[in-house]
């Protein structure tokens, strides 16, 4: 039951909608089948499988909205859930910002790579085999592994009384691994997320992690301060997502965003960062396929957010877009930041003195006015001199704004798919060389 086809979803929602007596009615139907293995201390720890679906009915009378849900799909249950949402809507206070549900929309066909049946259907044996490969690397290298592997198949659909219908089916495989030396002095990390499990090479990723763990054992303490850094994509993504996730028009218009300007107005159309920075979202990207519609039924299309350093678009709620008389662009999904042709190795070779950062961790906002964030390096931090990695260094705490960082850009490498350790979202991110990155103190953590 968990993964319904487009036709099955359509027929179920059509039936639910047929019971509606409200001014407007909208149905959301979701389901997922997911399973995971978690391991630590070179052994499996917990693992599990979960299947669930839900059907959500939103009924509106004027500007009054009622929402109810159910996970049983016989006729009587469907009618009951529709009636319940209508009763609730009659009792609800009016929301002056309520927007009528959307009419029929045109969505592009999703990229065929968005769903892979074999990834959705992975057997317990296949998952265990993939983890066994990772564990073997740890044992062979006399290191201790902790990791996580999860595969998911899911679908999302919506239909409303104005004729809107949307459907997408998704598959996902997520893997991350940390290897630590037995004396606790070295640690390395690698992670990836794909739609197709055959792309997930747990052996190769664990080897990368092993190399970082072994290579970081003799870390030296160097003085905190401003350094040229090379941020690997898995490090850079956690700071960049604070920038593209924060391009909300309403808070900028209201004067409470890093995009608000003195004297009123926003930085839309202004040059915010280095002209080599271009950030866009595209659900059809074959390397990062994504949903063709967002949660309230708006189509997801290719949008340039930052083009050659200039803020090109902000995202809007439907209410705010209507108030401002502009197109209601939904928030970014499936982000790509353009880069160059250089590999990570090329960036290292071109660096006289600098620090290579594998991963940034525990990212928290410090000042929303300047988009200042703090956090720490983790699982492989290395000193570079004359184009070569010289020695591992102890971890640092940083206080840095992605805006300042992208104004101090030295070079960009070739984008690759990275998954954020904070939001768990994937994006195509280039390795970045940045000057004057602010490390404010040392950490003893390994």
């Amino acid at each position: 039951m968990a993964i319904l086809s487009e036709e099955e979803a359509r027929s179920l929602m059509k039936k639910a909608l047929s019971y509606s007596k409200a001014d407007e009615c909208e149905i959301n139907l979701n389901g997922s089948d997911s399973a995971n293995i978690r391991y630590a201390r070179n052994s499996v720890s917990t693992s599990g499988a979960i299947a669930q679906t839900s059907l959500v009915v939103s009924s509106a009378f004027g500007k009054k909205l009622g929402v109810a849900t159910i996970n049983e799909y016989d006729d009587a249950s469907l009618e009951k859930v529709v009636r319940r949402s209508e009763e609730l809507a009659q009792l609800a206070p009016e929301n002056p910002e309520f927007m009528p549900f959307l009419g029929p929309q045109t969505y592009a066909a999703p990229n065929p790579k968005l769903f892979d049946q074999k990834t959705a259907d992975m057997s317990p044996k296949l998952r265990t085999d993939m983890v066994a490969q990772s564990l073997q690397v740890a044992k062979d290298s006399k290191l201790t592994a902790a990791g996580f592997l999860q595969n998911t198949g899911s679908f999302a659909a919506m239909m409303n009384s104005h004729g809107l219908f949307a459907y997408n089916k998704y598959s996902d495989i997520n893997f991350s691994v940390t290897l630590r030396s037995e004396d606790g002095k070295g640690s390395g990390y690698a992670s990836r997320d794909y739609e197709d499990y055959t792309k997930m090479d747990t052996l190769k990723l664990t080897k990368v992690s092993a190399q970082k763990a072994t290579g970081s054992i003799t870390a030296k303490a160097i003085e905190p301060g401003k350094y040229t850094v090379i941020l690997e994509p898995s490090a850079g993504i956690v700071l960049l997502e604070q920038l593209y996730g924060g391009l909300d028009a309403r808070s900028a218009d209201e004067g409470r965003s890093f995009l608000s300007k003195a004297g009123g107005g926003t930085k839309l159309g202004d040059k915010l960062v280095d002209e080599r920075v271009t950030i866009y979202s595209d659900p059809q990207n074959p390397d990062l396929p994504s949903s063709t519609w967002n949660g309230d039924g708006r189509p997801q299309e290719r949008i340039n957010w930052i083009e050659k350093g200039v803020v090109k678009n902000l995202y809007y709620s439907r209410y705010w877009a209507q108030k401002k008389g502009v197109k209601a662009i939904p928030g970014p999904d499936a982000i790509t930041m353009l880069g160059g042709d250089a590999s990570l190795e090329d960036l290292i070779k071109s660096t006289e003195r600098g620090i290579l950062v594998t991963r940034l961790w525990y990212i928290r906002p410090v000042d929303p006015q300047t988009l200042l964030y703090t956090g720490l390096t983790r699982d492989g931090t290395f000193y570079i001199e004359n184009g070569q990695i010289k020695f591992p260094v102890k971890n640092f705490r940083f206080n840095e704004s992605p805006i300042i960082m992208l104004n101090n850009l030295e070079a960009l490498g070739r984008p690759e798919r990275a998954v954020s350790g904070e939001s768990f979202q994937s994006a195509m991110i280039p390795p970045m060389k940045i000057r004057d990155f602010t490390f404010s103190s040392l950490s003893d953590a390994v």
Binding site: A40, Q52, V67, G375
Partner: protein, 546 residues
């Protein structure tokens, strides 16, 4: 439901939700459905027995079953508008088994006998498959069955039974008060949670629990359009393991002799909003701090989070052992340090207790999520590390023959694992008020409320901010400061603890959303303290130009 759908339902927008740190849990249901009584206990027992029997017949040597109905209500307003009222329900069953010495888990929201038996079989199949890559079999600390028992949070007024209109009226009054006092924007929210949890195990326990929590909060922003600057002052409330009575202010619960009112076991949301409304402009006009060493006087509304991050997390035994190495991290409080019996975690003023029973706290339950009766124990005694927090499959590692009852899962659909109990700094034994504590300080900063927080994966280096910073000079508060963050090393920081106020100042702070595990789960936990002084802490200035 994914995060985007949730944001749509709350109508909060991404920035608002991120500010509130709201995770996506459950599906929306009507208020009326949320007020219906729980699932019949006899039915839950029958369903649990189906799972227990099915797992045993497939070869499980131990099984536990958690049937959960989790209700959450979000009433969200901004300025003069009701943004949304969302009731969510999540109902289903999680089955955990031991087979071939290895854990397996499966969860389902289909509660018919066939689906339950299928889930139990899936859990056993996973356990048997994974036993291939297990290095040593799971060793469970013994636990006797309690038979059929129950527990309920001792609430006075069930928040789910309070009409939506009363909550909306309160929040709109809060907003109006803050805006009249100077705020330009405000979002205010009442979160209510009811976990109806049923636990059954092959040890012979059938435990029915009804757990309640509430968190009223707001974010009031003052904007100066001319300069393009803005400042936000968040509520000084704390999430509590209480009913709606937390929102009925009592005079005896107020502390009024400090620069802003502070609250014990009930919260005057309207009064706090009035202060927040004017403090936004005051923060904006405040002097930017000069970086350097200061004595810090931390109010419990700030210190709770520092206790959480720097004491709570590093004393989780699963982190110490490496089970969280791939995500939340490990711990500097390694077993060798604990074994010496002399590891100097903090000064003699530092006494820290783990407590799963504390009334009004978020972590209080009768039994944990693997059927262990809850209790309290010392973690840090007179500055020395004396114990950890643990569960049934790790207790033997620190020589215990029983679990400490720290197992929790945030949903029926997630496997239970070690989570932090309430971890609190004990008040000083000598009478001492915050005002007296400040009198001895030559150069210091008094910090109220929590804000930014970040700590490394072994819990050495941290950086915290607050909502309000007051400069202390020669024993007196002389004005407000801005752009403050304190950075320190855990052991150094707790060794600089020079005085703790007495029990009359003791208050609880806490979090609804402590994150840990893969897939990530949240947990609600409280941390109590009295106002506390730390000498010579490093302060950085966080002002930047973009």
């Amino acid at each position: 439901m994914n995060r985007k759908n949730f944001l749509y339902l709350t109508g909060m927008g991404i920035s608002g939700a991120m500010l509130a740190g709201i995770p996506v849990i459950g599906s929306p249901i009507s208020a009326e459905a949320a007020m219906q009584g729980g699932i019949d206990v006899a039915l839950k027992k029958r369903m649990a027995d189906v799972a227990l029997n099915a797992a045993r017949s497939k070869g499980a040597t131990y099984t536990d079953v958690r049937i959960g109905r989790y209700l959450r209500q979000f009433v969200v307003t901004r300025e003069e508008k009701v943004q949304n009222v969302v009731n969510t329900e999540s109902y289903g069953m999680g089955i955990r088994v031991l087979a071939n010495g290895c854990w397996g888990f499966a969860a389902t929201d289909k509660m018919d006998n066939d689906s339950i038996a299928k889930a139990a079989a899936a859990a056993v199949a996973i356990a048997k498959e994974n036993a291939r890559i297990q290095s040593e079999p799971v060793q469970l600390a013994p636990q006797k069955g309690y038979g059929e028992v129950s527990w309920k949070t001792p609430i006075e007024k069930n928040a789910f039974e309070v009409p939506i209109k009363d909550k909306v009226d309160l929040l709109l009054k809060v907003n109006d008060t803050a805006m009249k006092a100077g705020a330009n924007y405000i979002t205010s929210i009442i979160f209510s949670v009811n976990e109806q949890k049923y636990f059954a195990s092959s040890d012979g326990s059938y435990i029915d629990q009804d757990v309640h929590r509430i968190w009223p909060t707001f974010f009031a922003t003052h904007v100066d359009a001319k300069s393009g600057k803005f400042e936000t002052r968040n509520a000084l409330s704390s999430p509590r393991g209480m009913g709606y009575e937390y929102l009925i202010p009592k005079a005896a619960d107020k502390i009024t002799n400090m620069p802003t009112p502070l609250y014990r076991n009930s919260y005057d949301m309207i009064e706090d909003a009035g202060f927040a409304g004017k403090q936004g402009a005051e923060k904006m006009a405040a002097k930017s701090v000069e970086a350097g060493k200061y004595d810090l006087i931390l109010d419990p509304s700030n210190l709770w989070l520092t206790i959480h991050e720097s004491v709570g997390h590093p004393t989780e035994l699963d982190r110490v052992l490496g089970y969280e190495a791939n995500f939340a991290g490990t711990s500097f409080l390694t077993l060798d340090k604990w074994k010496t019996g002399k590891f100097n975690f903090g000064s003699k003023n530092v006494n820290i207790v783990a407590d799963k029973l504390q009334p009004g706290s978020l972590g209080a339950v009768g039994y944990d999520d693997e059927g262990v009766k809850c209790g309290q124990w010392d973690i840090i005694k007179d500055g020395i590390l004396v114990n950890y927090q643990t569960i049934r499959d790790q207790a033997h590692i620190i020589g215990l023959n029983a679990s400490q009852g720290c197992c929790y899962a945030d949903a029926w659909s997630d496997v239970q694992f070690q989570r932090m109990p309430n971890i609190s700094l004990q008040p000083g034994k000598t009478p001492l008020t915050p005002a007296e504590l400040i009198k001895d300080v030559e150069k210091g900063i008094y910090v109220v409320g929590d804000s930014s927080f970040s700590i490394d994966q072994q819990r050495y280096n941290f950086q915290f901010s607050g909502q309000l910073y007051y400069e202390v000079k020669n024993g007196k508060i002389v004005g407000m400061l801005n752009d403050v963050a304190y950075q320190s090393n855990t052991q150094e920081f707790w060794n600089s603890c020079s005085a703790v106020c007495d029990k009359s100042d003791y208050r609880l702070g806490g979090s609804f959303f402590d994150g840990k595990g893969q897939p990530e789960q949240v947990s609600a936990v409280s941390h109590g303290s009295s106002t506390t002084r730390f000498n010579g802490v490093n302060i950085i200035n966080t002002a930047r130009k973009i």
